[in-house]
Symmetry: C2
Subunit: 141 residues, 2 copies
């Protein structure tokens, strides 16, 4: 069970932006250098973030990306869903008519995984970008 880099990088990059003034756009090149993430990969990620209105882009030279809202208003769950990072514990939900393993009832651990998903999503719903940059003067990049 692990987090993919897509979700991690998205959060890292947005936290990077959040550390700066909201009005001037931050270029992906700068983020790439500061965070050590491939520029081309960042472009993929930001394409999704823009489509999901987490950021807006400013084109042209000295362009870049700006957060659409205050960091406090951007929940981590919003970011993860934007880049298709999902918490997935069971694959027995689709065939809701027939139950989990093709049998007529739910598998014995079904409720457990549901609870786990809720537990994790709860965490992501409670955390926002603002929480991450509060200690921005500390020993963090």
């Amino acid at each position: 069970m692990k987090l993919t880099t897509k979700g991690r990088y998205a959060v890292m990059a947005l936290a990077d932006i959040a550390k700066f003034d909201r009005n001037s756009p931050i270029s992906l090149r700068d983020i790439s250098l500061r965070q050590g993430i491939s520029l081309l990969y960042l472009e993929q990620i930001f394409s999704k973030l823009r489509k999901n209105e987490i950021v807006k882009s400013v084109r042209g030279s000295s362009g870049g990306y700006i957060l659409t809202k205050n960091p406090e208003q951007i929940k981590l769950s919003n970011i993860f869903s934007a880049v298709d990072e999902k918490v997935k514990t069971v694959n027995c939900k689709k065939e809701s008519k027939k139950g989990c393993n093709g049998k007529s009832s739910k598998c014995i651990t079904h409720n457990l995984w549901d609870e786990l998903e809720l537990h994790i999503n709860d965490f992501f719903n409670k955390k926002n970008l603002g929480d991450l940059v509060k200690g921005k003067n500390e020993n963090t990049i």
Copy 2:
């Protein structure tokens, strides 16, 4: 972010055993049939569970596996660590001397992922096999 089948199957199989009398061994063949898990795959999983003393084996015909403890004493975290299912959110912990991305300080989201890991592990520490089989007369396999 998802759970692998190894962890899921281990919990399912152990919950299956927990539903029965503790004294008579349950064969993998029966579990395989009831839970719809490949017998050969179950053997791999139970090999690890046995080495980690979650179950003990009884050989010979009408043999099988028995839980080493009461279901209430077997935490899900024990099961997951036995089958190498780990919660992994960051890969920036090994090089503790140099920081996360080879730089001298921690990455901006480092603490976040630590918190998440704790949050999830907390869940697995609180749940035990007994919790799963309590409602064993309900509509579950």
